[in-house]
């Protein structure tokens, strides 16, 4: 079967199969962006590990950030099946030539942000990622199956943490509401621009990389999340939010904010990238040592 037949019959493309260059490039870009999001995403949550308010929460958060590093590993591994290597992709990230999810350019200024990230950000990520388990590219689809299981656990722990805060003291409730106020709109923007303004969507749908449009996934997220906010006794920061008998319809999203964050003008773009660059630079001597050791002690053939 040639490439198009595999796609048309909803089959899987594997690394050694023939594929158009544009398909390969689209996947490399998307998987790399996804991998970068996992490792940049360690920062806003890692920010609270040392300050977590109970040992149980600390253990959960350490495990979650560790999972994200693991997700980064699977995804760079999936990208490597397309003929690029991790070091090359990291260099592109550090040079600002590949992107990561805009959501991680917002600061985590209170403990409730950790809960809100689990609930909203991981919740939105799941909506985006579950369809990717049926993506036409085999290694990516398989990596996503494993990742989605863990993300689902992350989302539930975030909601549970949010539940405790929203049933807690007045200060905790206020902290929870403030986190929802700040994370709601950026979470909606995680689904990307409206379909009409999303240049690559149609081709990705045709290739079976993407299964649903941005607007449809965003709507699913709103429908799932609004009742959860009600259950928590929190107010979604959208005065135009309404129920049309079938769906919860949100008000207008401020796409200029999204565009600014994409351009590098979000609150933490520079901080996140500089942190990564610094960590990478600080680790250079360790990576060089590991290579030097390995070549000195290479087993004799």
């Amino acid at each position: 079967m040639d490439f198009q037949q595999v796609i048309d019959t909803d089959g899987r493309i594997e690394p050694r199969d023939q594929m158009p260059d544009a398909y390969r490039q689209t996947l490399v870009r998307q998987i790399a962006q996804h991998a970068h999001s996992e490792i940049i995403g360690m920062q806003p949550e890692g920010n609270w590990i040392t300050r977590a308010p109970s040992l149980r929460r600390k253990a959960i958060l350490v495990a979650k950030v560790q999972d994200e590093a693991g997700h980064g590993l699977y995804l760079y591994g999936a990208a490597e099946t397309l003929g690029v290597d991790r070091a090359e992709l990291l260099d592109l990230l550090h040079a600002g030539r590949q992107k990561y999810s805009t959501i991680f350019n917002y600061p985590t200024t209170s403990w409730a942000d950790v809960a809100a990230i689990g609930w909203l950000v991981d919740g939105a990520a799941i909506m985006n990622q579950v369809p990717l388990t049926r993506c036409s590219y085999g290694p990516y689809a398989r990596a996503m199956t494993r990742i989605c299981k863990e993300e689902s656990f992350h989302q539930r722990q975030g909601f549970e943490a949010m539940t405790v805060l929203s049933r807690g003291t007045a200060a905790q409730q206020q902290m929870a509401q403030d986190a929802l106020d700040r994370w709601w709109w950026p979470a909606l923007m995680m689904f990307g621009p409206p379909d009409a303004a999303s240049p690559n969507s149609a081709q990705s749908m045709a290739w079976g990389i993407k299964r649903f449009g941005n607007d449809e996934l965003r709507q699913r997220f709103v429908d799932a999340t609004v009742p959860q906010a009600e259950f928590l006794g929190l107010t979604v920061p959208d005065p135009a939010l309404s129920w049309d008998g079938e769906h919860h319809r949100s008000g207008e999203i401020d796409w200029t904010e999204f565009a600014e964050v994409m351009k590098g003008n979000g609150p933490c773009n520079r901080q996140r990238l500089e942190f990564r660059q610094q960590a990478h630079a600080d680790g250079a001597w360790v990576r060089e040592a590991a290579q030097a050791y390995a070549s000195k002690h290479r087993p004799v053939a």
């Binding site: 040392t50 308010p53 109970s54 600390k58 253990a59 960590a279 600080d282």
Partner: protein, 242 residues
Amino acid sequence: MTPVQAYTLRLGDDCLVLGQRLSEWAARAPTLEEDVALLNIALDLLGTARSLLGAVGDEDALAFLRAEPDWTNALLVELDNGDFGRTMARQLLVSAYQVPLWAALASSTDPVLAGVAGKAVKEATYHLDHASAWVVRLGDGTAESHARVQAGLDGVWPYAAELFETDPLVESLVQQGITAAPAVLLPVWQQTVERVLAEATLTVPESSWRPTGGRSGRHTEAFGYLLAEMQHLHRAHPGASW
């Protein structure tokens, strides 16, 4: 607090404080694999600490509401991480001590210590393998890595002596078969550490300075900052549940 509880708390404090220090590496490790490994070790130590603190009292009250003089961890675990070389050198010294300690405690007459140790010895064995592999790679890697890991080792080395100190509490527990004598653990530790350092082409440091005080609540300046960071949120909301 009974003598066994006081001793259990010492071991729990060692694990919690070292876990807290290692968790500071989150997202900063030299490779993604190390991000996974360091957090995994931090999580193991945190888990052991929770079991031990929970056997003594309320784990969160003990972790978040005790002031510096009430902590009885060894000074070695509270030292700042420094670079990756220093972190791995410290991990080697601690893990090489914890492996024989947990192995001995696994047959303690105290059921709590025996239970915790039975699980912890497996984890500490992995931590020791991991730290040893890195100390060897760094020591026998490049000139820079050799110099850095030697400097890191020299910096933390004097603090290791405290792990093998004895006092009336330890002596009484040794007599009751609850724990192993530090004098029994020391040669095992020395043998492990010297073997790894030899393979790493590193020099065993010599130090006549033996800083001490952790077991009686006299800590380093760095420890106050560690506690301030760890405890501030919990203390800012008295009585809240999380």
